[in-house]
């Protein structure tokens, strides 16, 4: 701490030769924020594209209980995402949105373990950082496993429906799907896939920092700011999921 105070003093003497952080945050943290801003634009573009394409298709007009999949209108999401692993063996016919709800809670929980890792890092608590980083990695891997299951189920499909030219289709691909217009599945793959890829890279980066904390690199460096930086990235991934969840599964 004494070192940084000296740095600020020196910087004040000569403002133009560096030594002062304009935002009272380190270079790495500010750059992480700007990276996340650019990434937020990317995800916004994807989600707004979803909104636009959704608005170019007709909605389903009848009663929700009579809903059937058709290529003529956009599907109701709770009718598409209604599966849960092993639900048929328990005698449950449909569990709308329960699985994505579980995924949401897993990601929120892993966000909390990440803040606890950052908090431990601020106290120079190596053991705490190791423990909470490991829980965060486990949370991320669990989420990825859930997504893998959901994609598998989405691609294989559950029942058969007819497309516009009278062919039967099961499951979903990039050119056609049983749930609705082709764009529905295409957007599902692009948006949740891009998010899942972020989760995957987040898990890798978390693992690198976990490794560095465990072998003592961060302790020798004298601070655990790297934990804070990957924490920002990890929370961002959680934040994006909050939006994907709303616009893809609820609206």
């Amino acid at each position: 701490m004494a070192d940084s105070a000296v740095l600020v003093e020196e910087g004040k003497k000569n403002l133009w030769s560096g030594g002062v952080s304009p935002f009272k945050a380190s270079y790495g943290k500010v750059m992480m924020w700007f990276f996340l801003l650019s990434d937020a634009f990317t995800f916004s573009a994807l989600l707004i594209t979803y909104g636009m394409i959704r608005f170019t298709h007709p909605s389903y007009e009848g009663a929700v209980s009579d809903f059937k999949f058709s290529q003529e209108y956009w599907p109701i999401p709770e009718k598409v995402f209604e599966a849960f692993p092993g639900m048929h063996s328990l005698g449950i016919e449909s569990a709308p949105l329960v699985f994505v709800g579980l995924m949401t809670f897993i990601l929120i929980a892993s966000s909390v373990t990440m803040v606890l890792a950052v908090e431990a890092g601020e106290r120079m608590d190596k053991k705490g950082v190791e423990k909470w980083m490991l829980w965060t990695i486990i949370g991320g891997l669990t989420f990825l496993g859930c997504q893998a299951w959901e994609w598998t189920h989405f691609i294989h499909g559950s029942d058969i429906s007819m497309n516009a030219v009278g062919n039967f289709i099961t499951g979903a691909g990039l050119s056609s799907n049983q749930y609705g217009p082709p764009n529905f599945a295409a957007l599902f793959f692009f948006i949740t896939g891009f998010h899942g890829f972020h989760v995957l890279s987040g898990v890798f980066i978390n693992f690198i920092i976990f490794y560095q904390a465990t072998v003592g690199i961060l302790e020798r460096r004298g601070h655990y700011e790297m934990v804070e930086k990957v924490g920002l990235y990890w929370h961002f991934v959680d934040l994006v999921w909050v939006f994907v969840f709303t616009f893809f599964y609820l609206v």
Binding site: L36, E78, G231
Partner: protein, 107 residues
């Protein structure tokens, strides 16, 4: 393995309690979203959309301000992250109108 020179500070209980509180808020809002998804009928399309968007923004606020700590950063940093997001709001309006116009042209 432990370096004896490094002094481990005691756990900041107040901070941890604060994070748990934020997590509970997020969980409650998500649960409410579920409740609304299954109680408000689909006929009230725009009511549902507005409620969901507002709740999502509340959740996003808690994640960004508390978990990502942006609420406690300098004002200049806050503004340089939040203000550019106005472009996103702009794009929402452009493309939603565009989508409706395409729909009107098609059907």
């Amino acid at each position: 393995m432990d370096n004896p020179q490094v002094e481990v500070q005691p756990l900041n209980r107040e901070k941890v309690r604060h994070f748990i509180k934020v997590m509970i808020y997020l969980a409650i809002i998500t649960a409410l979203e579920f409740l609304i998804a299954f109680t408000v009928p689909h006929d009230y399309k725009w009511v549902r959309i507005v409620i969901f968007v507002v709740m999502t923004i509340v959740k996003a606020y808690y994640i960004v301000a508390e978990f990502m700590h942006l609420g406690h950063e300098k004002r200049s940093l806050k503004m340089s992250i939040v203000l550019p997001m106005l472009f996103v709001v702009f794009l929402v309006f452009i493309l939603i109108f565009q989508g409706s116009a395409i729909y009107d042209a098609l059907y």
